[in-house]
Amino acid sequence: MLLISVIVDCVSKSYSSGLFSKRYDKILSDISLEITKRKTVGLIGPSGVGKTTLAKIIMGLENPTSGKILIDGTDIWNAPSEERDTSLKKIKMVFQDSQGSLNPKKTIKQSLYDTVNLMGLDASTRESLVLELLDRVGLSSDIFCRYPHQISGGQNQRVALARILLVKPEYVILDEPTSALDIAVQAQILELLNNLQKENNFGYLLISHNIPLIDFMSDEIVVLDKGSIIFRGETKEFTEFNSLKNKNSFKV
């Protein structure tokens, strides 16, 4: 176990329904994985299997029923709130719905400046930082005055990435980052993600149901089915596992 990594340790999640007669729906059971810097972990599974729930648990947006999330050694669900906040700052998430992940009532400029304000820099540094990162994700300041619905899906995803770069995380969860984009744009975004990883030493958790994408991007692959891990290993092993499973009519 490394101290510099995000460790998901035996995480389970169940939802209870009903006030008096409790009924539990188990979404995730005993999930363990590890995100290390400069590496990409691919998380794959059919839709509705709990991939996004797991991402939310890692992000601290939902609490696990049991198990631990360790970010660089800090157990985020049992640490004092200050420590928890500093740990959670290291991990950020890119959402599936790129347009929906920006406030529809704010211009791109407002969204970016709100984010950079979180860092508490002085005005001139802020401006140069925003412009620099906008340029880095391949956008120009022409889009500043537009609203999220006035720019394309690919541009929205680039803005979302720029927002994440502004807060300087160490680990990034990518929840279906390209599923809403057409093939040509998908390739551009993937290339951008790869370059950003090299430059910033990001540790990625890539969530998708697209096998070729996961195959192409990941160093390690985790397969989820019905809430539990049915495969965890390197990409090469996954290819074998997949062809074997295909014979037994396993469909991801």
Partner: protein, 282 residues
Amino acid sequence: MTHHIEELKKLAISKLNLNSIGIIIFLLFLLIAIAAGIISPYNPWQRFEPYTRPNSSHFLGTNDMGNDILSELLFGARVSLIVGFGASIIATILGVTVGIVSGYYRGMMDEILMAITDIYLMIPRIPLIIILAALMRPNFWLIMLLIGFLWWPTTARVVRSSTMQIRDTSFILSAKSLGFSDKHIILSEILPNINHVIIPKFMLTIASAMFSEASISFLGLGDPTMKSWGMMLNFAFMKGGLINEMWWWYLPPGLCIVAVVFSLMLIGFSLEEKENIMLGLE
């Protein structure tokens, strides 16, 4: 499908026209209220010969005290609108706060706040105000506060459900995950996105508050030192205006109340409708 959309657009246009009619009527009354001091022919407390019919010097005649009814009517717009606006501002601030807090935080806070809201919703509001106004000295500000503090629950309910709708959208989640404070998320991410629910509700609350003030004043529990339209109606009934068929006394304040409430309803409903049509077209 295109036919369907055309129909919807037509509907939207006709609703927008209703909206502009509402706005024109409302602005007219707002102007009257603001400029009452300039446009009214006399001071509403000035006394002339009582019970005169409409004539060239008093367009709407005079009442039992000899006050000019037209001047009373113009100054009454001020009182009625201030009560309506004041009460609605209080109700909206309370309702939006309760609604956003319970919709955003959910859990125990939500349960408690919604239980309180339900209790408030069950209170028969007009009878309660009547009792309170009868117990305390009827006062203009007191009535405004009472209406404000009793009219928030429906706003809270509507705001809560809209907040719940957007609290799980990606942009709120991404704001949370970027590390924005709850205060920033509520004020800068949620509030601008539920404006379209709050504004029509605010308009409708003004109408409802004005109507309630008129009802209370009509029952004789209003502030006797303030000449609101409801108070004018009350005096017209009490001092024999109705029995003697002095329509110029009891009709104008009633029509003014109806016109303002109607204009606010038009604005409120067409804003709601416009939002629904926009959602339908998307």
